[in-house]
C-alpha cells in the first residue's frame, strides 16, 4: 500500500514553473529522499505534500485519502524543518506537546507520548529549558521529538541537518536511521547532500528543474543512472564523462574518442544504437584500474589527489582527462605512460542530445 501518492502535480509562481507534472509514490514504511540542487523544486514538493503551499494542479493522497485540499494538520503528517522552527518562548516540554494540546488530547496521553519521545531522543534532562539554552544538535532533536509525539504515519523532513556542523550531521544521520529502523514510519526527506541521501534512503528521487529525473534505490541510482544529470549529481568523486561517437561494426559497438577506440562488447545497451550516434561515455573512477580485466587504454599520468582512504589519479586519455580511484600504496610513485583497465559492464552511456541512458 502506498503511504503517499502524488499524481500530476503542478505548481508555478507566476510565469515560473516550479513543479512540472510530478508523479511520486512512497510505500508504507519507505524512506524516500528528494535529492537535487537548490531551486530544483524539492522543498516545494515537500511543502505541497505537507499542505503548506497550494498547488495549481494534481492530486495528493496520504494513506489512501485525497488530501489535496486539506489543511496541514488534517493530513496526518508531522514535519521537521531546516531552521528547527522551535517556539522560542516555550520550554522544550511545551514545544513538544503544543500540537497535542491544540488537538485536545487527554493529559495522560500527552504525558505518555512526551515521556516516550523524550526518552527515545535523550531529551528528558532538557525538558524545562528554552530553545535558546540548547545547542544546535539538541534543538534538532527537540524538533524531531515534536514530530515524533504526533505519532503520524508520515514524517516530512526539510533539510533537517544542513544547519549542523559536519560531525554533528553524521551523528544525527545515524540517529535518524536508528529511529526509522525502530519505528518504521513512512518518511519523505529533502536534502541536497547526496551522502545523506545514499545513507538514509530506501529510494531516492533525483529532481532537476521541477521534474523527477529518476526514482530508484540508492544502488540502482548509483550503478545505472538513467540520465546524464543523475550520473553527474550522484557519486563523489564524480563520474568521468567522455564525449564519444558510437561506431557499429556488425553486432559489435565501439566508442570512438578521437584516435582512441573503446570496444563496448561488455555494455548492455537498452536498444542497440545507430552507427555514428553522438554519445557521452561515463565511467566512475572506481571502474578504472591500473591492472585487471576490462578494456585496456593507453594513458599518460597527470597528477595524484590523495584523499585518505583512496587516491584519485588523473590521467590523459587522448584529448580528455580521466580519473581513477587507486589504493594509496599503488598510487605512490606512479608516473609516465600507464595502461588503464576500464570496466565497461559498469559504465554508463548517454545520448548526447536527449541525455538519456542508452
Amino acid at each position: 500500500m502506498s503511504a503517499v501518492q502524488v499524481r500530476g502535480l503542478r505548481k508555478s509562481y507566476g510565469p515560473l514553473d516550479v513543479l512540472r507534472n510530478i508523479d511520486l509514490e512512497v510505500r508504507e514504511g519507505e524512506f524516500t529522499v528528494l535529492l537535487g540542487p537548490s531551486g530544483c523544486g524539492k522543498s516545494t514538493l515537500l511543502s505541497a505534500i505537507a499542505g503548506l503551499d497550494p498547488v495549481n494542479a494534481g492530486r495528493i493522497e496520504i494513506g489512501g485519502v485525497d488530501v489535496t485540499d486539506l489543511d496541514p494538520s488534517a493530513r496526518g503528517i508531522a514535519m521537521v524543518f531546516q531552521s528547527y522552527a522551535l517556539y522560542p518562548t516555550m520550554t522544550v516540554r511545551n514545544n513538544m506537546t503544543f500540537g497535542l494540546r491544540v488537538k485536545r488530547l487527554p493529559k495522560a496521553e500527552i504525558d505518555k507520548r512526551l515521556t516516550w519521545a523524550a526518552d527515545m531522543l535523550q531529551l528528558t534532562a532538557l525538558l524545562d529549558r528554552k530553545p535558546a539554552q540548547l545547542s544546535g544538535g539538541q534543538r534538532q532533536r527537540v524538533a524531531i521529538g515534536r514530530a515524533l509525539v504526533q505519532q503520524s504515519r508520515v514524517f516530512l523532513f526539510d533539510e533537517p541537518l544542513s544547519n549542523l556542523d559536519a560531525k554533528l550531521r553524521a551523528e544525527m544521520r545515524v540517529e535518524i536511521k536508528r529511529l526509522h529502523r525502530e519505528l518504521a514510519p513512512t518518511v519523505v526527506y529533502v536534502t541536497h547532500d547526496q551522502i545523506e541521501a545514499m545513507t538514509l534512503a530506501t529510494r531516492i528521487a533525483v529532481m532537476r528543474g521541477g521534474q523527477i529525473e529518476q526514482y530508484a534505490t540508492p544502488d540502482e541510482l548509483y550503478e545505472r543512472p538513467q540520465t546524464l544529470f543523475v550520473a553527474g549529481f550522484v557519486g563523489s568523486p564524480a563520474m568521468n564523462f567522455l564525449p564519444v561517437v558510437l561506431r557499429r561494426n556488425g553486432g559489435a559497438v565501439a566508442a570512438e574518442l578521437g584516435p582512441v577506440t573503446i570496444p563496448l562488447d561488455a555494455y548492455a545497451f537498452a536498444t542497440p544504437p545507430a552507427d555514428g550516434t553522438q554519445a557521452i561515455f561515463g565511467i566512475r573512477p572506481e571502474h578504472a584500474a591500473l591492472s585487471g580485466a576490462g578494456v585496456q587504454v593507453a594513458t599518460e599520468t597527470l597528477f595524484m589527489e590523495p584523499m585518505g582512504a583512496d587516491t584519485l589519479g588523473w590521467f590523459q586519455l587522448g584529448t580528455e582527462k580521466l580519473s581513477a580511484r587507486l589504493a594509496p600504496q599503488t598510487a605512490r610513485g606512479i608516473s609516465g605512460p600507464q595502461r588503464l583497465a576500464l570496466d565497461i559492464a559498469n559504465a554508463s552511456i548517454f545520448a548526447r542530445d536527449t541525455e538519456q541512458r542508452l
Binding site: S47, A50, L52, D71, P72, S73, I77, A78, M79, F81, Q82, S83, Y84, A85, L86, Y87, P88, T89, M90, F98, G99, V102, K103, R146
Partner: protein, 281 residues
C-alpha cells in the same frame, strides 16, 4: 589625550546645562509666589520654595469658565489614553502579523497604502473626518476621539509590527500550522509572547503621542472630554486678570509629567526594542 577628554566633558556639560535652562526656569518659577516673580529675575532661585502654585494648578485654576483645575483634563486624557493605546497597539500587532506572516493577496498593495497613510498630514483629513464622525453621531464624544486616535495610530503601529514579524523565520508559522494551530492561536500563543519588546516600544510611542496630542483632542473630543493639553492651553492663554506664571508653569509640568515618567521607566526597553527591531529587520 587627557586634555581632549577634559575638553570633551566640559563641552558636554555646557551643552547639557544650556538645554536644561528652560526646564530649570519652569521648575523654579512654579515654586515661587507671584510677588517674588514680579520683583526678581527669572534666574533667581526661589527664596521660600513651596507647592502652592502646583496645588492651585491641579485643584482650582480656571479653564475658561470652570475653575476646577487641570485635574479634570488629567482624567479626560487618561480616559482617552487607555482605550486608544490598548486598541491601536493590539490592532497594529494583529495587522502586522496578518500581513507579514500570512501574506494574503494584496498584502503589498495594502502595505504601500499604509506607508502613504503614515505620511499624510493630519490637516488634510481633519474636515472629512469631522463630517464623517458627525454623520455617525460620534463627533464631540469620548468614543469619537478614541476612534480618531486608533485610526491615526494604525498605519505606524501596523508598520512597526509588520517589520518585526517579517523578521521572524517563515518556518515558525509553518510548524505551528502543521501542529494544527489556527490564525488566532498562533497569534496569541506564539507570536505575541515573542513580541514583548516591540509591544513596549509601540506602547511608549502611543502613550506619549496620544498624551501629547492637542489638535485632535481640541477638534474631536468636545468640551466635556477635553484632554489635559487643551485645558493647559485654556489656563495659560486666559486673557482675563493677572497672568499667574507660577500656576501656568506648574500646570505645564503636571501635563508633561506622565510622558516623562514613561520615558524614565522604560528607556531601557525603548532602546532594546529599537535595536531588536533594527537587527531583525
Amino acid at each position: 589625550m587627557k586634555a581632549a577628554r577634559i575638553g570633551l566633558y566640559a563641552f558636554l556639560l555646557g551643552a547639557a546645562l544650556f538645554f536644561s535652562i528652560p526646564l530649570l526656569i519652569v521648575v523654579m518659577t512654579s515654586l515661587k509666589p507671584m510677588t517674588e516673580i514680579r520683583t526678581g529675575s527669572i534666574f533667581a532661585l526661589p527664596l521660600a520654595p513651596n507647592f502652592d502654585a502646583w496645588v492651585k494648578a491641579w485643584m482650582s485654576a480656571c479653564t475658561g469658565l470652570a475653575c476646577e483645575g487641570i485635574r479634570v483634563g488629567f482624567w479626560n486624557s487618561f480616559r482617552i489614553l487607555v482605550p486608544s493605546v490598548a486598541l491601536s497597539v493590539m490592532a497594529g500587532a494583529l495587522n502586522g502579523y496578518a500581513l507579514a506572516q500570512w501574506k494574503p493577496p494584496g498584502a503589498n498593495a495594502l502595505l504601500t497604502a499604509l506607508m502613504l497613510g503614515a505620511f499624510i498630514p493630519y490637516q488634510v483629513i481633519l474636515y472629512p473626518m469631522v463630517k464623517i464622525l458627525s454623520n455617525i453621531g460620534l463627533y464631540n464624544s469620548l468614543p469619537g476621539i478614541i476612534a480618531v486616535h486608533i485610526i491615526f495610530g494604525l498605519p505606524v503601529m501596523t508598520l512597526i509590527f509588520r517589520n518585526f514579524y517579517a523578521g521572524l523565520p517563515d518556518e515558525l508559522l509553518k510548524a505551528a500550522r502543521v501542529d494544527g494551530a489556527g490564525f488566532w492561536r498562533i497569534f496569541f500563543e506564539i507570536m505575541l509572547p515573542l513580541s514583548i519588546n516591540i509591544l513596549i516600544v509601540a506602547v511608549i510611542l502611543q502613550v506619549t503621542g496620544i498624551w501629547n496630542d492637542y489638535l485632535l483632542g481640541l477638534i474631536f473630543a468636545g468640551r466635556d472630554n477635553a484632554p489635559m493639553t487643551v485645558q493647559l492651553n485654556l489656563i495659560v492663554n486666559t486673557s482675563m486678570g493677572e497672568q499667574e506664571h507660577n500656576v501656568n508653569m506648574a500646570a505645564t509640568l503636571l501635563t508633561a509629567l506622565p510622558p516623562l515618567l514613561v520615558y524614565f521607566a522604560s528607556g531601557r526597553y525603548f532602546v532594546r526594542g529599537i535595536t531588536a527591531g533594527a537587527v531583525k529587520g
